[in-house]
């Protein structure tokens, strides 16, 4: 079994880079065992399909455009993707994530479990730092994901 934590986002547009900052945060604060892979996917979509296909369980972290307050994080599961229940303008990097997964399904390579954590951004201004509001969300989301990994039997150490 392999679990992939996939951070998407553009590092140069402040909160847009949330997924990438999240990966960096995990790397700095935890030690992960074999079988868990952290991946800074930038803003690629279809060109990283193979990364998703290689995993059994995928955690996708990205910004979303949805009703709510900046800093709110929403969770979506595989069926939301496969049955088209997500808002169309879910994320700037959606690059048809639904299409990508449908393609994988047609290829018999779709991961069994996919969980998307989508955060509503506060700012897309040019800049390599997150806003304070989103920066504060990193530890909470990290704890949540790490707790799930541990429940799945992975030995994740806190540094």
């Amino acid at each position: 079994m392999k679990t992939l934590i996939f951070g998407a986002g553009n590092l140069l547009l402040s909160d847009e880079g949330f997924g990438v900052h999240f990966i960096n945060y995990l790397q700095q604060n935890y030690r992960f065992p074999e079988g868990v892979e952290l991946y800074d996917g930038g803003t690629l979509g279809i060109m990283v399909t193979h990364m998703l296909e290689d995993a059994d369980h995928v955690y996708l972290v990205d910004v979303i455009e949805a009703e709510g307050e900046p800093g709110d994080i929403y969770r979506y599961e595989k069926d939301d993707f496969m049955l088209g229940r997500l808002p169309i303008k879910m994320s700037p990097h959606q690059i048809g994530i639904q299409e990508v997964l449908a393609l994988s399904e047609l290829r018999d390579r779709c991961p069994k479990k996919i969980s998307l954590f989508g955060v509503i951004p506060q700012s897309y201004e040019a800049g390599v730092e997150l806003t304070q509001l989103l920066s504060k969300k990193l530890p909470d989301l990290a704890e949540l994901v790490v707790a799930e990994l541990r429940a799945d039997g992975y030995c994740v150490e806190t540094i």
Partner: protein
């Protein structure tokens, strides 16, 4: 008269809006508008020049390595740093395989569904499909079993109503002309293509340390080393792995993508008549084969008015006439002023107005070469190399045209751009292996240099890093002052092509290429998408069609 607006709304790498006016089924006016301010160059000001490439490769989500290459070259040009042969060969392989990956994905995943009807594939006879596929290629994946499996999987998908998830095409549109068997063949290859774009990405990861963001560049070379015996470097085992990956992608490109492209081009020959647009072209030389960036495998060139034979060949990256004659105009772009500025003097001061048909309407500046709009991309590179006497290019272009039954001049078109890209992928697949051989030979000769260590000196320096990227000529312009970046501008291929009108009212390539395009059904402007997609715009995104009142009439998913 009908006005159609195609607007993708939220994307990072694209944000393109296209407006067309249609009279009697023909496009009579067009506007291309970038919908997001790309001010990320300002992030680089004040940073150390040797780090610029790390940030620059985050400019765009799709073409990361090209910005890294252009950026590092801009510093090397500014400081007149030579790049060792080993480093050039390693960079060449990264560039060539990135091109292969990019072109495969563009053809199958971003543009094929403009020409291929997925639903029609359900009606195909798998046996006849195999016969068709085997008649155009000896690739091992074209069996009846394979096509039957794809078809039944697709059928199951459609029966559960799930095609809608990835439906992006105008299935059943009258402009779709391929027979069911050709559609099934293309759908099967569309699914398979993902395995091969992956192999190309793996080459980038082995050579560059990481994919999608390479880690191995440094001013003056690369941080990668080759040592046949050392496990920590590119060793014998990795060289063998690179060769296998590159041979497999070559086979896919030459035995699947290229023949598929020829088949589609032959079935839609009328599309060599549409989409001509701007026929001034620019390409810069690429694949350096010396340490000073003066000798290149593929020459660049400037072509005026479609006159390929009369091209002015550009043979190196120090061409003063080229460097001095690029300016960006903002008369119709949402920036302060009306002026044309050279990129070293470039300013990025936003001034947003509404979308004004006759005023400012785009975040994209209008780059001009010697005051002229120019088209960049695979056709430009092929035309320049053709005129410059590259025999490999000449033979491949002539053969391809003969097989389709067109002349070289027909490549100034929508289908010509798609064809030129397939030809370029064919070439790049070969170049990848050629540079692997050259690297191995050079290392065997005892050359152990991978970088010329460079200290950034005090004082002011200006440089430009040119790269002939998959989408065309890319240039990064840097001004260094006292070890810090003073100014930084990137003139990217899509800026040349997506350019708005300039101060003289001259249209950019996207706009001009749409003039005269047919549009059979203004609610389903498939033909507009075909022409825009032929440029491989960086808009791998969901596009919405809205009418002037803002009412959504059709949702178009472009991927």
């Amino acid at each position: 008269m009908a006005r159609i607006t195609l607007d993708p709304v939220t994307r990072i790498e694209g944000h393109l809006r296209i407006d067309v006016e249609v009279n009697g089924g023909t496009v009579t006016n067009a506007w291309s508008s970038a919908q997001m301010w790309r001010g990320i160059e300002t992030i680089l000001q004040g940073r150390p020049p040797e780090d610029a490439w790390i940030y620059a490769q985050r400019f765009c989500g799709v073409c990361t390595t090209v910005h890294a290459i252009s950026s590092i070259r801009s510093v090397e040009h500014a400081l007149k740093v030579e790049v060792p042969l080993n480093a050039q060969y390693i960079r060449n392989m990264i560039m060539a395989q990135h091109s292969v990956q990019d072109h495969i994905v563009h053809f199958y995943h971003l543009s094929a569904l403009d020409w291929v009807d997925v639903v029609s594939a359900l009606k195909a006879d798998p046996k006849k499909t195999a016969q068709l596929a085997q008649s155009i290629s000896d690739w091992s994946g074209n069996s009846e079993t394979e096509f039957r499996a794809v078809q039944s999987k697709l059928k199951a998908f459609v029966e559960t109503g799930r095609l809608g998830i990835f439906s992006s095409g105008y299935w059943g549109h009258p402009a779709m002309k391929l027979p069911p068997e050709a559609n099934l063949m293309a759908v099967a290859h569309y699914l398979k293509a993902l395995d091969y774009q992956r192999r190309a990405a793996q080459v980038g990861a082995i050579l560059g340390g990481k994919n999608p963001h390479i880690q191995n560049l440094c001013v003056g070379g690369v941080a990668t080393a080759v040592n046949m015996e050392n496990l920590a470097t590119i060793n014998m085992e990795r060289i063998a792995a690179l060769r296998t990956l590159m041979e497999e992608t070559r086979d896919f490109v030459q035995k699947v993508y290229y023949p598929d492209m020829l088949a589609i081009a032959s079935a839609y020959k009328e599309w060599f008549k549409y989409g001509k647009g701007v026929v001034n072209y620019l390409a810069v030389p690429e694949m350096p084969e010396d340490t000073k960036n003066t000798k290149f495998a593929l020459p660049g060139g400037i072509i005026a008015n479609g006159d390929i034979k009369g091209a002015r060949i550009i043979s190196n990256h120090q061409d003063e006439a080229l460097i001095g004659n690029i300016k960006e105009n903002v008369a119709h772009a949402w920036y302060e002023g009306e002026n044309s500025l050279h990129p070293w003097e470039g300013e990025t001061t936003p001034k947003y107005t509404d979308f004004q048909d006759n005023g400012k309407y785009s975040w994209c500046k209008a780059p001009r070469l010697d005051g002229k709009a120019v088209q960049v991309g695979p056709p430009a590179q092929l035309f320049a190399a053709y005129a410059g006497g590259n025999q490999k290019v000449k033979k491949l272009v002539d053969d391809s045209c003969a097989k389709i039954g067109i002349g070289v001049g027909d490549l100034h078109s929508t289908m010509g751009r798609l064809g030129a890209r397939a030809i370029r992928a064919h070439l790049m697949a070969d170049y990848s292996l050629e540079y692997l051989d050259k690297l191995v030979e050079n290392v065997a000769r005892g050359d152990k240099t991978y970088a010329n260590h460079t200290e950034i000196p005090k004082g002011e320096y200006r440089g430009v890093g040119f790269h002939e990227a998959p989408r065309g000529t890319l240039s990064h312009w840097i001004v260094i002052k006292d070890k810090k970046i003073k100014n930084y501008q990137a003139v990217v291929p899509s800026t040349w092509n997506a350019s708005p009108r300039d101060e003289k009212g001259v249209m950019g390539p996207y706009e001009a290429s749409l003039m005269g395009n047919p549009v059979a059904d203004s609610e389903k402007p498939l033909e507009v998408l075909r022409t825009i997609h032929s440029f491989d715009p960086c808009i791998a995104c969901a596009v919405h069609t809205i009418d002037p009142q803002g009412k959504e009439i059709t949702k178009i998913k472009v991927l």
